[in-house]
Symmetry: C2
Subunit: 376 residues, 2 copies
DNA sequence: CGTAAACATGATAGCGCAGTCAAACGGGGC
DNA sequence: GCCCCGTTTGACTGCGCTATCATGTTTACG
């Protein structure tokens, strides 16, 4: 049976003095050994390690933090939701934090709570974290926030004042531009955009990238439809767009909305990709398996978080060293079956068309629903 | 501009003594006020609060922890992945932890690392957490683990020795049984099961529930196909099952696998739900928007985590009080379009059938892919 | 009006480590 | 042989708070 004890949990768990006594050294020497400080003879070092092992000694982190002023922990401000993007950031952060020898404390912002970021940050700082990660920030009318520990901002421009602010971004704009250009390259006259909520920096980045691509190709810029990242909002947008006969290509700001959008298009009798092409964003694990498989942009979450945290830790430990410039991650477009060249000629008129005949398609015979489908 | 400072961050941040001096009381009185202890006169209390406010005082948690032996934090052992189930647990836990006035520390198990749970637990206990949440545990040959703080085990039987072990479970078995019975109720002779990895308790629960339902209805028990929760594994299973003409209904242990499964069936020319019905598990937000919309079991993540954490905190703070018995959550089946009665007569023979004509379906005309689809 | 409770405050002593400084030791250069 | 300097070790102190106990100060009630 594995036995795990919390230091200080009971009066019986050993203290560093106990280790010192057993090893026949001073308490300070135990501290030296355990912190890998120089000036300890190899013999003593081993004796201390053996004694610590024998007693099952674990350092009390609260005492360490109090005495040293450092907690060796990093706080992350995240959204308390199951959105794929934020969750993937969190998973990557956990891994990277542990790799760097730190521990992780989490504070979620409460959805829709303005000043939520400030609240979450305050909670983390109260806990004495040595650094903070803000993943995918939203600007809900919060002004500049000033924090007295280094900050890593993921996927957004920094609007924090801190001893050091480091940024690691995917560069969503470039990705959005590539997605849009993929559609233009297939021959679409223009590309509609189903945007994310514009309070999100990453949503604005994607919008900007889409706009850039259109301008660079002198394409018309159709009105933007804004969703809230959810498939439900994509579905709602899809019902709108399905009625517009001029739409032949849509770039959705994330995969969930893209999938909701596609569902609405299919229900309205618009085929994907024959009538309308759709590109998503994120490459969620399901993207390859929905019908039709989704063309999408893959985000390099892991590389970005790992690199960002390495910078953050460097800044925490050696505040004076100059940081290397951030390197952009390569853009990765995953082409699947939701994009194709536009239909031969523009569909005349507006409004719902008659339901067309189904193709005999090479891969599979999808089916609609027989049970009446109601919005959940 | 919002200014946030870390207690102890600089020598200038105020201490409780500073507050005491400003309020003209002893340091101990400040401590009393801030801990809401009785026996402080209202006048003094207010003076102390004002002084604290004026100085922007924040308590140093490390010192509090050291002096009191409690960190007011709860650790959660989680999987470092973006799987919907674990992630939803985590989101629910964060919310509940904050509601209870605690903070959250996270340690992820490293995938495929045996003893990963023990390692993550050790890391949390080293940090001095007052309680631990194990979400969706796996038993990777780890024996009984003994921990010296209370433990909340979500969604699984406890195999931990601790001062107190509380369990909060969805009761996945009952849910799986309901899912299976839904299919049997539609007239299917039996139901195949696409199981989750059997190292997971929740996967075993679901398998057991499925089996129970079959037995109760005296239905044949077909061989189980095991996936790894991913859509890719569902897809692989689907290729297998598509070749078996006797399959008319499948219960998948989660939605991702169900979606991968459906994709493979469609590609093989088996219609869903006309030829084969599929039920998923989780009710991920996308489930309503894939094609066909997925019939699935909704898990009450929030209720279960909230209730579980309330119990955990009670056990931490008042170890002697008797706990109320756990109440089962109601089973919730969300019927969408991926399930239907079986086809009129058993499909003769085995192997691939010719691609049938598409229905003119009431809701939408889904399309397959024209671009050749390759497994990612 | 006296006495026992209840209330209100403060002095003092740790919690378990890391930081500071001083002391002891040892080898090389003169 | 003496001094200097790098090495090795330990005694002592303090991080900022909570806990314990002692000391006043009221109130309750016979």
């Amino acid at each position: 049976m594995t036995r795990l004890a919390r230091p200080g949990g009971s009066p019986l768990t050993p203290r560093s003095v106990d280790v010192a006594r057993l090893a026949g050294v001073s308490q300070k020497t135990v501290s030296r050994v355990l912190n890998d400080e120089p000036y300890v003879s190899p013999g003593l070092r081993q004796r201390v390690l053996d004694a610590a092992e024998e007693l099952g000694y674990r350092r009390n982190q609260a005492a360490r933090a109090l005495a040293s002023g450092r907690t060796r922990s990093i706080g992350v401000v995240t959204l308390g939701s199951a959105l794929y993007g934020p969750v993937s950031w969190l998973a990557g952060i956990e891994r990277a934090v542990r790799e760097m020898g730190y521990t992780l404390r989490v504070a979620a912002t409460i959805e829709g709570d303005p000043g939520g970021i400030a609240g979450a940050l305050a909670s983390l700082l109260d806990q004495g974290v040595d650094g903070v990660v803000i993943s995918e920030p939203i600007d809900e009318g919060v002004g500049l926030i000033s924090v007295d520990v280094p900050v890593l901002v993921l996927g957004a421009p920094p609007n924090f004042a801190a001893p050091q602010v480091v940024t690691a971004r995917v560069g969503a704009g470039r990705f959005a531009r590539a997605a849009t250009e993929h559609l233009l390259g297939l021959g679409h006259e223009t590309v509609h955009h189903l945007a994310g909520p514009q309070r999100w920096y990453s949503a604005r980045d994607r919008l900007a990238g889409w706009r850039e691509a259109l301008r660079a190709h002198s394409a018309d810029e159709p009105p933007v439809v804004e969703g809230d990242w959810s498939a439900a909002s994509g579905y709602a947008a899809g019902r709108e767009l399905a009625g517009d006969g001029t739409v032949t290509a849509v770039f959705a700001a994330n995969d969930d909305m893209a999938i909701g959008l596609i569902r609405a298009l299919l229900e309205a009798g618009r085929r994907v990709p024959e009538d309308i092409s759709v590109v998503g964003f994120d490459d969620i694990p399901l993207a390859a398996y929905v019908t039709p498989p989704l063309t999408t942009m893959r985000q390099p979450f892991d590389e970005v978080t790992r690199r960002g945290l390495a910078l953050l830790v460097q800044v925490i430990e050696k505040p004076d060293v100059e940081l290397p410039p951030a390197a952009d991650q390569p853009v990765e477009l995953v082409v699947r079956a939701s994009t194709a060249p536009p239909p031969p000629r523009p569909i005349p008129g507006r409004g719902r068309r008659a339901i067309p005949q189904a193709y005999g398609v090479p891969y599979g015979q999808p089916a609609g629903s027989e049970v009446p489908y109601t919005q959940p």
